[in-house]
Each structure stands twice: as structure tokens, then as C-alpha cells.
């Protein structure tokens, strides 16, 4: 039996809402309850029909009573009762079960991961805490995602989500446990010595984010967890002003920072007060209205579930699913993609957003102090971003000093090739032209139009990548071979490995910068919110005024709503330490006498033959007055293809061939973006 579509949509809603909102979004429907209040009073003796008393005088039970007493019930009344039961009894029950379902799904999944992938529960010392942290991350991820949705419902969901969750979960980030599992050797293991700790350490490291540097830095770094906090606190003022609901904003000005598009300026599209009204409609709606608004609500809430799934991946096994560049060190792959020493000393103590201010209640008299901390935090966030903006180009500069392509060229070239191939047209004629234009390939032989273009394309692309047919002459395969020979570790300058290591961390630095930007926005928003609350606080009547207590209580409630986004002094200290780490990294890379760049240039002088093959510095990355080479070809004089003037002949079938001409590496490099 397939339940009606309404139920399906409804399930999606309750599945997610009940798990996260925990009843907040769907209170007992007072408006409707009042309509049939007298009726219910007459049958139940109470208007307060909640989950606990659900069913005592409802449904079958009520009908039985009436039957046994032979009291007639008007059909309109029984119908109203039925409707009331549905909305006030069955729905809460269904939501509770849905909540249980999601909790169970999470628990079972993690149990399974424990059993199947590390088996031994001791790796997760505090299972409850781990499960909680999964939920925690889900909330963050969820709020972050749905806040950006175009749905007018998403923003309010986000704010309610945060408030509800924060109030019910005051917790800290998981403790570092690798030392307890591996012992004193954990540092050696972290430094890449797989023998120190072995599998046990590896499992502990990869499964528990707090035990690896990426994971711990994200857990510890208040910046990382600010993905959600931004959404909470950047709208704190809205929350306070609009019954706890956010305004919906859209990005009106974007900027590109190191290839990543970021929003520079937001504009409020729908005020929180409007959303607040909409939500009231939704949360108080009857079945019919719910059905009408099913699609937008469903769409927004599906994103919540999306986040839940993502969370299982990201949090439960995040480190495991992160591919280690290179891949050859599969079992001991930890560390290659880490943030290096950054944050390593502060990993376990970082404050999470849920307890950023370290308490569950804002002390209204301390508002000036909160304000000052937020200002410091905003200032330091900006500082951190600036430092990272300085550091990253320096690393690029150091990398460009090295002979040979950038460390990630192989993966990126394969990806580009794959992209080019996927862009190939589907008709055979167009396909021929396409490959002729891109690679100069000539389709020959007595092939007919009956060939499946997809097959032809796959064979050609396979050859270009070096997987299919004439491997000896395959372009990328051969090219990689040449490059590996030319720029192998042995022929590189000594500083290369240190520079490459920094290069692989660029992505992490950029992430840190993005998160730092979000934290800045968050802090600024918190400042606005605190100012707003301060104003209200100053307007409170005299303590002797009879309305003082109530008004203060109301204000306290508003103030507590903004608590999740408030930074603590510990957060500021953490930023400080991050800034210091970046500072020392800048010095490590660019110190004029001992930095990586200086050392690289010195070594090039000592290895003139290798120096000739270093890449050209992009002008914008260079200090003025530094010369750079103009040739971008790493393999001058080398012909990519077979031994002759033409490349291999690809046999698609006995009757169809593709002639592949030899290719000048400069064209090849250009096509595949190798630099």
C-alpha cells in the first residue's frame, strides 16, 4: 500500500522536524483547540490535551464510553472530535515516533560503523558524546544550508532550529583521545610514522575527528563551527526583533577570492516579521493548509535531511572519506592533507558554538563586556583573514619557484581531460571535428556512421588518458612518465618537499579564511544584537516598578536567544593563537634570509640545470624586480606520441581506426591546464 502523497510529504516533515525541533515548531494547536474547546471540555474534562494524556478519552476509547452509556453523539461532533484527535493526538505521536526513527537510524549507523569499521567500541570512548556530537554537527550543517535556501521557510526553520537545539544541548567538543589509545607515541604517528601506533592509531585517528589535525582543528577552531553560527548570529537582531525568526537575505554582491566565489554583501529580501507570520500559519495549519504548502516546506525540510545524511558522512567517517593526495600511502595516509602545525596546540580545548559564551544565560548587566569581546573578536577575525591572504600567495610563489608542474597537476590534468571528454558531442560527425580541433586526432579507416559515438569517444579518451589500447603512446600516460622522470624527487632541489607540503595545505588555509570571514560577520551581527538588547535594557523601568520583573524576564528571554552567537574570551584567545601561527608560517615561507622562497632561489643557483626548467612566476605573485621565465613547456624538444611523427593508431574495431598525431607538449599542457 502506498500512502497518499500528503502522508509522504508529511513524513518528510515530521521526520526532520520532530528530530530537530523537538516539538517546538508544532505546539498544541491552541487556536484550533480553542474552537472546539467547549466540546473537548465536555468529553475530556480538560482542554489541555497533550501527548501524555492523549487517548484517554479519545478515539476508540471515547466511542466505547458513548456506546456503553448509550449516549448519542451528533455526527458533526464526532467528526470534529476525529479531526481534533488527528491533529492533537495522532500527529504528536507520529512525530515522536519519527523522532525516535531518526535517532535510531543515527545510532544504528554509528553502531554499524563501529562494528564494521573499527569493531572495537573502545575507539569511541564516550559513545553518547559521540552520538550527540553527530547530532550537533547535523544541526550546524542543517542550519547553515537551509539558511541559504530561497525558500521563505528556510530561514525561520534555521533560527528555530538553533534556538531549540542550543537550549536543549549545552555541550563541549569531544576530547582528544589518540594519546590514550596509542600512548606517548601519538605524536610520532601524527608525524607520519605508521609504525607508531599502527592500525589502532590509524583507526582512532580517522574515525574520531578530534584525533586528527584536520578534524581537531575544525572541532577546535571556533571558526570552523561558525558555519552555522554565522547563520544564527548574523541574524541575531532579527531573531530578537521578530519573535525569534530570521530575515531572508540574498547575496547582491559577490567576490572571487582565490577562485572561490564568496558573498560580499547581503540584502534583506523578506523581513523576519513577515516570515514569522508565515511560520505561524504553517505551524498552526490544519491538514488542508499543510497540503497546500507542502511543496515549499517539503523542499526546505528535505534539505534538513540532506544535512543529516551529509553529517553521517562528514562527522561519522569524515576523515576516512577524505582522499589523501597521492593515494599510495593508503593505510598510513594520515597527515598529508593536514593544516600542519596550525592549531595543533589548541585542538582539544576549542569552544564550540553552542557554549561560546560559556553559560546558558546572558547576564544583562554584563552587556558592555560582551560587546567588547565581540568587537575584539571581529577585529581579530579580520586580522586572521588578512594574514591568510598574505600567506597563500607566498606559498604559491614558493611553489612556482620549483622546477616542474605544481604538486597536484596529475589529478587536475586527469580531471580536465575527463571534463573535455564529457563535453564531447554525441553525434559521430561532431565528435570527429571535436577531437580534431582539440587534439588533432584524425578518425580514419572504413568506419561508418553506425558506430556508437559514445563508444568511439570512450576509446579515444581512454587512449588519451592511457588506459585503453595503445598505452605506450597514450598522451597523458606518456606525459606523466616523462614528467616523473624529469622532475623526480632525486632530481629536484632539496627544498622541494617542504614547499610541496605547504602547497597541499593551501586549501585548508583558504577554508580557514572563509570561515574566519563568516565569524567576522557573525561577530558584527552579535554587536548589533547586543546593542539592540542594551537599548532595551536601558529602557527598563525602575526596579520598584511593578512591571519591572516581567519586562526584565521578557528581555532576558530575548537576550538568551542571541546567546549562541556570542563569543567568549576563550574564542578571542583561540583567534590570537591562530594569528600567531599564521604569522610564524608567513615567516617560515617568506623570511628574506631563511624562508622557503629565499632558500628555493638559493638552491636554484646551486642547481642551474634544474633551474632552467622551473615554471614562470605569474607576474602578479612576484615582488617587483624579480625575473621570471617565459617558457611554460616543461618538456622542450620532446614529442608526445609514438616514436614517429604520428602517435599510435587506435583500433576501435577492425574497420575503424583513429590516427593520433604526435603533439607538442606545450599544446598538451595548455589543453590540460598543466602549469
Amino acid at each position: 500500500m502506498q500512502f497518499p502523497r500528503f502522508f509522504s510529504g508529511f513524513l518528510s516533515i515530521v521526520l526532520t522536524i520532530s528530530f530537530i525541533f523537538q516539538g517546538m515548531l508544532f505546539p498544541i494547536k491552541k487556536a484550533e483547540a480553542s474552537k472546539i474547546d467547549s466540546l473537548i471540555k465536555s468529553v475530556a474534562g480538560s482542554a489541555a490535551v497533550g501527548l501524555a494524556s492523549c487517548g484517554a478519552t479519545m478515539g476508540v476509547s471515547f466511542a466505547t464510553e458513548k456506546l456503553l452509556s448509550l449516549q448519542s453523539v451528533p455526527s458533526s461532533e464526532s467528526s470534529q472530535i476525529g479531526s481534533f484527535i488527528k491533529e492533537n493526538c495522532m500527529d504528536p505521536i507520529a512525530r515522536s515516533v519519527s523522532q525516535q526513527l531518526l535517532a535510531k537510524l543515527t545510532e544504528n549507523t554509528i553502531n554499524w560503523i563501529n562494528t564494521g569499521f573499527n569493531g572495537n567500541p573502545f575507539y569511541i570512548k564516550d559513545f553518547d558524546s559521540y552520538v550527540t556530537s553527530v547530532a550537533d554537527n547535523s544541526i550546524k550543517s542543517t542550519a547553515s544550508k537551509i539558511s541559504q535556501s530561497n525558500s521563505p521557510f528556510s530561514a525561520k526553520i534555521s533560527s528555530s532550529l538553533i534556538i531549540s537545539y542550543v537550549r536543549s544541548n549545552q555541550e563541549t567538543t569531544p576530547d582528544f583521545t589518540l594519546d590514550k589509545i596509542v600512548g606517548d607515541n601519538w605524536q610520532q604517528f601524527s608525524d607520519g610514522d605508521f609504525k607508531q601506533g599502527g592500525w589502532d592509531a590509524w583507526l582512532a585517528t580517522t574515525i574520531l575527528p578530534q584525533n586528527n589535525q584536520i578534524g581537531s582543528s575544525f572541532l577546535a577552531s571556533d571558526l570552523a563551527t561558525k558555519q552555522i553560527e554565522k547563520k544564527v548570529s548574523s541574524n541575531n537582531q532579527d531573531i530578537a526583533q521578530n519573535d525569534g525568526f530570521l530575515s531572508m537575505k540574498k547575496c547582491v554582491e559577490k567576490e572571487v577570492v582565490f577562485g572561490q566565489e564568496e558573498c560580499k554583501k547581503y540584502e534583506t529580501v523578506t523581513p523576519g516579521s513577515v516570515i514569522s507570520e508565515q511560520l505561524k500559519k504553517v505551524s498552526l495549519t490544519g491538514n488542508e493548509q499543510l497540503q497546500n504548502t507542502e511543496d515549499p516546506v517539503d523542499a526546505a525540510l528535505n534539505k534538513v535531511f540532506t544535512a543529516l545524511l551529509n553529517n553521517l558522512i562528514q562527522k561519522g567517517v569524515s576523515s576516512l572519506t577524505t582522499n589523501v593526495p597521492g593515494g599510495s600511502n593508503a593505510f598510513g595516509g594520515y597527515g598529508s592533507n593536514s593544516l600542519g602545525g596550525l592549531l595543533s596546540g589548541t585542538g582539544a580545548q576549542g569552544a564550540g558554538w553552542v557554549n561560546a559564551a560559556g553559560s546558558q544565560e546572558i547576564v544583562l548587566e554584563d552587556l558592555p563586556n560582551y560587546l567588547q569581546i565581540q568587537q575584539e573578536y571581529a577585529q581579530k577575525s579580520t586580522q586572521l583573514q588578512q594574514k591568510i591572504s598574505t600567506l597563500v600567495p607566498l606559498i604559491y610563489q614558493a611553489d612556482f619557484c620549483l622546477p616542474g608542474p605544481r604538486p597536484t597537476w596529475k589529478e587536475e590534468a586527469s580531471s580536465q581531460l575527463s571534463y573535455l571528454s564529457s563535453s564531447a558531442p554525441s553525434s559521430i560527425y561532431a565528435l570527429i571535428n571535436y577531437f580534431q580541433n582539440i587534439y588533432g586526432l584524425t578518425l580514419g579507416g572504413s568506419f561508418g556512421l553506425t558506430y556508437d559515438p559514445t563508444t568511439v569517444r570512450n576509446v579515444i579518451v581512454g587512449t588519451m588518458e592511457g588506459r585503453a589500447h595503445s598505452q605506450s603512446g597514450a598522451y597523458l600516460f606518456g606525459y606523466k612518465d616523462y614528467i616523473n622522470q624529469r622532475f623526480s624527487g632525486a632530481s629536484q632541489i632539496p627544498i622541494a618537499s617542504a614547499i610541496n607540503k605547504e602547497y597541499t595545505e593551501i586549501e585548508s588555509y583558504n577554508t580557514l579564511k572563509t570561515l574566519s570571514g563568516e565569524s567576522y560577520e557573525n561577530a558584527m551581527s552579535s554587536i548589533s544584537s547586543i546593542n539592540y538588547i542594551s537599548n532595551l535594557f536601558n529602557q527598563l523601568p525602575d526596579k520598584n516598578d511593578p512591571t519591572y520583573a516581567d519586562k526584565r524576564k521578557e528581555l532576558q528571554k530575548k537576550a538568551d536567544n542571541i546567546l549562541p552567537g556570542i563569543y567568549s574570551e576563550e574564542n578571542v584567545d583561540l583567534l590570537d593563537s591562530q594569528i600567531q601561527e599564521i604569522d610564524s608560517k608567513i615567516d617560515y615561507v617568506s623570511n628574506p634570509s631563511s624562508g622557503l622562497i629565499a632558500e628555493c632561489q638559493n638552491e636554484l643557483l646551486a642547481y642551474p640545470s634544474v633551474a632552467k626548467e622551473r615554471r614562470p612566476y605569474p607576474a602578479q605573485l612576484l615582488p617587483s624586480g624579480v625575473n621570471y621565465q617565459t617558457s611554460q613547456t616543461f618538456l622542450p624538444g620532446v614529442t608526445i606520441g609514438s616514436d614517429g611523427s604520428f602517435g599510435p593508431t587506435i583500433f576501435i574495431s577492425d574497420y575503424m581506426t583513429v590516427d593520433t598525431p604526435a603533439m607538442n607538449p606545450s599544446i598538451f599542457e595548455q589543453k590540460l591546464g598543466i602549469y
Partner: protein, 290 residues
């Protein structure tokens, strides 16, 4: 670890098929969010292929390899002479992992958790865990959870003793029915929502009372079968018995709240349907008796 545990169930296979059709349909109708590159990759895969893919044929599915950190394209990722499958098994033995642990769970919630997880990891590994993809997936999951078999209507199996319509027979019938129902009520009949609410509110995993209530429905049905019904009310009488049996079974499903919430949720939706019918028939009896 037995690979059997990761193989999709028959239900999942159907679900995967539906998922694929919808996923690809939406995908190709909404190309703006996907690059051509992704489109080309997706054309050549299916969700079941994703989950069951084992490129290097080493016995570990690709998604498992992504979790273990081994190379899905190499049988022996660390080239130490032991293939990845054996190596993970050895390591698990060394760590004292009993692989049987995995295969012991069989309930639907647990199975669904595994299926969601393995599919999600596979999608993620292949870069397909896009927002749209997961939205479609979760939408279908919602449908799947709610898709359940109706409890078969036992009405055709029920033999009701029909007597002729008369005032006397009606009175006899009325007295017998009311007595039986009152007795059932005293045993908890009709108290299932209260009991179920209590389980939820008190976070108790003791479902004994709920199961007893389920039994009262079943017992009531048995006793009503013994009562001779006047012909004019016999069809309602028969339907009531039938719906009591179905309600009893749905309450039983509900009692899986802690162990298997999917069953419980399905039970609730079924309960709503069948108990509505019970209610309706009780009101019909009330009208008849008046």
C-alpha cells in the same frame, strides 16, 4: 565482514531502481546544477553499481575502500603482498572484531540505516552526493518508509452467526455486545493511545501493556464472533470484528517503538486507518441500540 551485509535487499533494489529513474530524470531536466563532466559520469552508472562496484575486484566494495582508506583501483594498496580484503580481515581479527556482529541485526530500521549509509558513502565517493541528489533520495526514503502492506482484511474468513431481525434478538444482541465490550474495556481496550503516549513520554521500553491491549482487541473479536447478530446488523458486526483484528495487529506493530521505529511508524498509520473504522462501527452500533 561478509559482503552479504552490504548487498541491497530486494526492497532496496526496487527502491534503487526508482531512485535512479527519478534521480536521472530530474538530473537531466535540471542540468544547470551539474557540470557536463558529472553528466557524462552519471550516464554510465547506476545506484546499484555504485554500491556494488569493486573496481579492483579485491572483495572490498569501492565505498568500503573509501572508508578504509585503501585504493579502490589496487588490490594491494600498500603493496605488501596481502590484498586489501585479506588485510582488512586480518586487522579486524587482530582487533578482536567479530564479523558476525554485523549480520545479527535484521530489523527494518537497522537495515535501512545500513542501506542509507552505504548508498550515501557511494554517492559521496563518486561526487554524486549533491543537494538535489540527496533531496531526491530522501524523498524516496520517506515514501519507502511509509510504503507498507495493508494488513489483509480477514472479513471473508469470518463466519458470523446471523439470526433473524426481531426486537427480542436485538435486545439479546445488545446485551451480549455491551457486556463483552465492557469486559474488554476493563482489560484496557481503547487505552492504546494512552499507553503508547506513556511509553513515549516516559521513554520507557516496556511495551508489555501495549501488547496486552493489542490482545484485548483480538480477544474482543473472538468473543464477538460467538455472539449471534440479527441480520440487519450482521454486516456491521462482521466488519467490526474484522477491523478489531486489524487494529490489534497494527497496535502490535506500534509496540516496536524502540526496537524498530519504522515498523512502529507504519503501525501508527495503519492503526489510524483501522481504529477509525472500529470507531465508526461502534457509533453504528450505538445508533442501532438506540
Amino acid at each position: 565482514m561478509t559482503t552479504q551485509n552490504y548487498l541491497p535487499s530486494k526492497k532496496l533494489s526496487i527502491f534503487l531502481l526508482i531512485f535512479l529513474v527519478i534521480f536521472f530524470s530530474l538530473f537531466f531536466f535540471n542540468k544547470k546544477n551539474y557540470s557536463n563532466n558529472e553528466a557524462a559520469n552519471i550516464k554510465n552508472i547506476s545506484a546499484s553499481t555504485l554500491v556494488l562496484n569493486d573496481q579492483d575486484m579485491d572483495g572490498l566494495y569501492d565505498w568500503e575502500e573509501s572508508l578504509w582508506g585503501t585504493d579502490p583501483k589496487q588490490k594491494d594498496s600498500d603493496q605488501n603482498g596481502i590484498n586489501d580484503k585479506e588485510e582488512t580481515e586480518l586487522k579486524k581479527n587482530e582487533l578482536g572484531i567479530t564479523t558476525d556482529q554485523e549480520s545479527t541485526s535484521a530489523n527494518q530500521t537497522d537495515q535501512l540505516a545500513k542501506e542509507i549509509f552505504s548508498l550515501a558513502v557511494s554517492l559521496n565517493q563518486n561526487g554524486l552526493l549533491t543537494q538535489e541528489g540527496v533531496e531526491n533520495l530522501t524523498k524516496i526514503l520517506g515514501d519507502q518508509i511509509l510504503t507498507t502492506e495493508e494488513i489483509e482484511n480477514p472479513e471473508s474468513e469470518i463466519q458470523v452467526q446471523v439470526i433473524e431481525n426481531s426486537a427480542e434478538n436485538k435486545e439479546k444482541y445488545k446485551a451480549a455486545v455491551l457486556k463483552t465490550i465492557e469486559s474488554a474495556k476493563n482489560k484496557g481496550f481503547g487505552g492504546e493511545l494512552t499507553e503508547f503516549s506513556k511509553i513515549i513520554a516516559e521513554e520507557s521500553d516496556n511495551t508489555e501493556n501495549l501488547e496486552k491491549i493489542s490482545q484485548t482487541y483480538s480477544d474482543l473479536a473472538d468473543e464477538l464472533i460467538q455472539i449471534k447478530a440479527p441480520e440487519e446488523i450482521s454486516s456491521i458486526h462482521k466488519s467490526l470484528i474484522s477491523e478489531l483484528i486489524r487494529t490489534s495487529l497494527s497496535i502490535n506493530l506500534m509496540s516496536n517503538y524502540y526496537s524498530d521505529p519504522i515498523l512502529s511508524l507504519r503501525g501508527i498509520f495503519l492503526y489510524k486507518k483501522y481504529s477509525d473504522n472500529v470507531e465508526k462501527h461502534l457509533y453504528s452500533l450505538l445508533s442501532y441500540f438506540q
